[in-house]
């Protein structure tokens, strides 16, 4: 069961990572094939496991501010900034559609 171009396009948008070439797509196909082996296992009546520490209570601390005030430190690592803001390019602009963006999938 091959993955359709629609799904591949959807994945590129969700992940904001591109397949790059045929090898990338093939890699996904193989990954799915590999994962399909899971269906051989009978898991009737089995609850999914999130964490091996599920029988314990997660630690919660008091809602007190104990550290912070390190704006300068944090901004040091950002490339684009203005005063105390991280600067991003304009938002609310969706990634171009498959036919309009530079992606290997365009030819498919």
């Amino acid at each position: 069961q091959k993955v359709t171009v629609e799904v591949l396009d959807h994945l590129e948008r969700l992940a904001l990572v591109d397949f790059r070439d045929a090898e990338g797509v093939e890699r996904l196909q193989k990954a799915i094939q590999f994962a399909d082996q899971l269906h051989e296992v009978n898991t009737d009546g089995i609850e999914p496991m999130d964490s091996v520490l599920e029988d314990r209570c997660l630690y919660l601390r008091e809602d007190d501010v104990t550290e912070g005030n390190c704006t300068k430190e944090l901004l040091k690592n950002a490339r684009e900034k203005v005063e105390e803001y991280f600067v991003a390019p304009p938002g609310n602009i969706p990634l171009p559609k498959l036919e309009e963006r530079e992606t290997f999938l365009r030819g498919s």
Binding site: R27, L28, A78, I93
Partner: protein
């Protein structure tokens, strides 16, 4: 002898008595790092900082007030742990030039004990891989490739390519850390272990690799791969040293809510002489396809060793072992897809020049910053998390995870104290051979013996056992009960004493830096 094979405990004693100073020790290690540069074990060497730390340690020692056993001891840290003021790259273009504003908790703990941080070690990009070959700074070379014991070398003509191309991999993804410890450039190193990333290279490099119980050691500051399985790993040259490092790192961290709140008491390992009360389990499924006959024989010999010493050795079954790799594959890629989402170029790391829109900037940044392996896992992970696949893949994998964890519960509940298994399928392969298969295939093959312990969150340790026919290290693995590191390490130490694994004879280094070894021969510490 200071660097070669000496127990760190002995070095600590030497430092205390002034037989060697922290600065001398530091300088020797730094010099050795330089002369073993061809191993490519280190990404960043923090020479100035380390020497400064050495100076501070020296002051304390002169006053007779060392902070503890680790005071003045040179250590190295895998480059996926945040280190304040020192570049942290995860061997990726995405974080090249990233200088962290804080220390990971485990790094801070080491520094608080006076350890000298020599530098950051090389790894597979974002710890994804089992060879330490897929980072942007190039592959790490196994120091044993340059040992007198390695029989895979061709006759050396000069520094010809022949010799160069036969070098073997370290295994991964903590290969840099393993190589660093193995080549004596530091006394202990931190790695990380999600599917075997500390144990695999430890076995291939002939050092001790400890994966602690999930929840024992803080992950705060360890750049996450799989939040529900990652643990910091410890690499040392002997089991006692691993116990000491564990003692300084374990315990609840308010900054990592997945660390358990139980009080942790550091322990010294007893010298076990009577193993008759031990029950050792040999899981038959670990006789995995592809397991070399050599390692199978060693495993059998080890089982006999315990039996002849009076321990109860029984065959047990962990029926879902063969599914742990598939399960890991789905859960890992799913968590990776989520964890890698933070890399968007805005707050830190690489940022693309593309600025038409936020989305296109993110996409370009991630296209430029991640290698094929990382991108591949992100895309696979997103596939398994799609609404139409969530139940069939992600939830399914979580159910299989419970089955795998339950297998261990059953076996340990039936009276077995420790499981004995091989760590790797074979000894280290030559780099040229390793790269013929792709990363995912390799990982799937190589993680088979180590992954289930991560699935179940159990502690596991690999102990160097013997040299293979090719003269390369082979390790065996012990898996213990949750949070029973003391018992696990006690048994491992007993085993280590029985097998007397040989010391690596690094001839390349001897050729390059005669001085370092000359000095060592005169100083005696044992």
């Amino acid at each position: 002898a200071a660097l070669q094979g000496a127990l760190r405990l002995q070095v600590s004693a030497a430092l205390k008595e002034g037989q060697v100073t922290p600065t001398e020790l530091c300088q020797r290690c730094l010099s050795l790092i330089k002369s073993t540069k061809f191993l490519n074990a280190y990404i960043t060497v923090a020479e100035e900082a380390a020497l400064k730390q050495a100076e501070e340690s020296e002051k304390r020692h002169r006053k007779g007030q060392p902070l503890g056993v680790l005071d003045g001891i040179p250590v190295a840290v895998k480059d996926n742990f945040n280190t304040a003021g020192i570049e942290t790259t995860c061997a990726s273009n995405m974080l090249k030039g990233y200088i962290s504003p804080y220390n990971a908790t485990v790094v801070q703990k080491l520094l608080d004990q006076g350890a000298l941080l020599l530098g950051k070690t090389n790894l597979d990009e974002f710890a994804m891989g089992s060879g330490s070959t897929d980072g942007v700074f190039g592959p790490v070379r196994n120091p044993w490739s340059y040992s007198r014991q390695y029989k895979g070398k061709s006759v050396p003509k000069s520094h010809s390519e022949d010799e160069e191309s036969n070098w073997v991999i370290t295994g991964g993804s903590s290969g840099g850390s393993a190589a660093a410890v193995s080549s004596f450039t530091c006394f202990a190193a931190l790695g990380s272990d999600t599917g075997g990333s500390t144990r695999n290279p430890a076995a291939h490099c002939g050092v001790v690799g400890l994966k602690p119980t999930y929840g024992l050691i803080s992950r705060h500051g360890l750049i996450p791969l799989v939040n529900s399985m990652d643990v910091p790993g410890i690499l040392t040259r002997c089991v006692d040293d691993a116990a000491i490092v564990l003692g300084s790192l374990a315990g609840h961290d308010p900054k990592d809510s997945t660390t358990i709140q139980d009080n942790f008491k550091p322990f010294e390992l007893p010298n076990l002489t009577d193993v008759s009360k031990l029950s050792i389990g040999i899981p038959k499924e670990y006789h995995a396809p592809g397991l070399s006959s050599e390692i199978l024989a060693l495993w059998s010999k080890a089982a006999d060793l315990f039996k002849n010493a009076g321990a109860k050795v029984i065959e047990v079954s962990l029926p879902h072992t063969c599914y742990s790799i598939v399960c890991y594959h789905v859960l890992c890629t799913a968590e990776v897809a989520s964890n890698m989402a933070r890399f968007d170029g805005l707050e830190y790391g690489h940022r693309s020049d593309m600025n038409r829109s936020t989305e296109s900037m993110y996409a370009a940044t991630r296209r430029e910053g991640f290698n094929d392996v990382v991108r591949g896992r992100i895309l696979s992970g997103n596939f398994f998390l799609l609404k139409q696949n969530y139940e069939n893949y992600f939830i399914k994998a979580q159910k299989v995870r419970r089955l795998i964890a339950n297998d261990f519960v059953k076996v340990f509940g039936s009276g077995v104290d420790i499981l004995l298994t091989p760590t790797t399928l074979s000894d280290a392969v030559p780099y040229m051979e390793f790269i013929k298969e792709d990363n995912r295939t390799r990982s799937a093959q190589d993680d088979i013996l180590t992954q289930a312990a991560n699935m179940a969150g159990l502690p596991a340790i690999t102990v160097p056992t013997a040299l293979s026919k090719r003269g390369l290290p082979v390790g065996l693995q012990f898996i213990g009960h949750s949070f029973q590191e003391k018992q696990l390490l006690t048994v491992a130490k007993w085993f280590e004493k029985q097998v007397k694994f040989p010391i690596i004879q690094l001839e390349e280094v001897m050729r390059h830096d005669h001085n370092v070894f000359q000095h060592q021969k005169s100083a005696s510490f044992s």
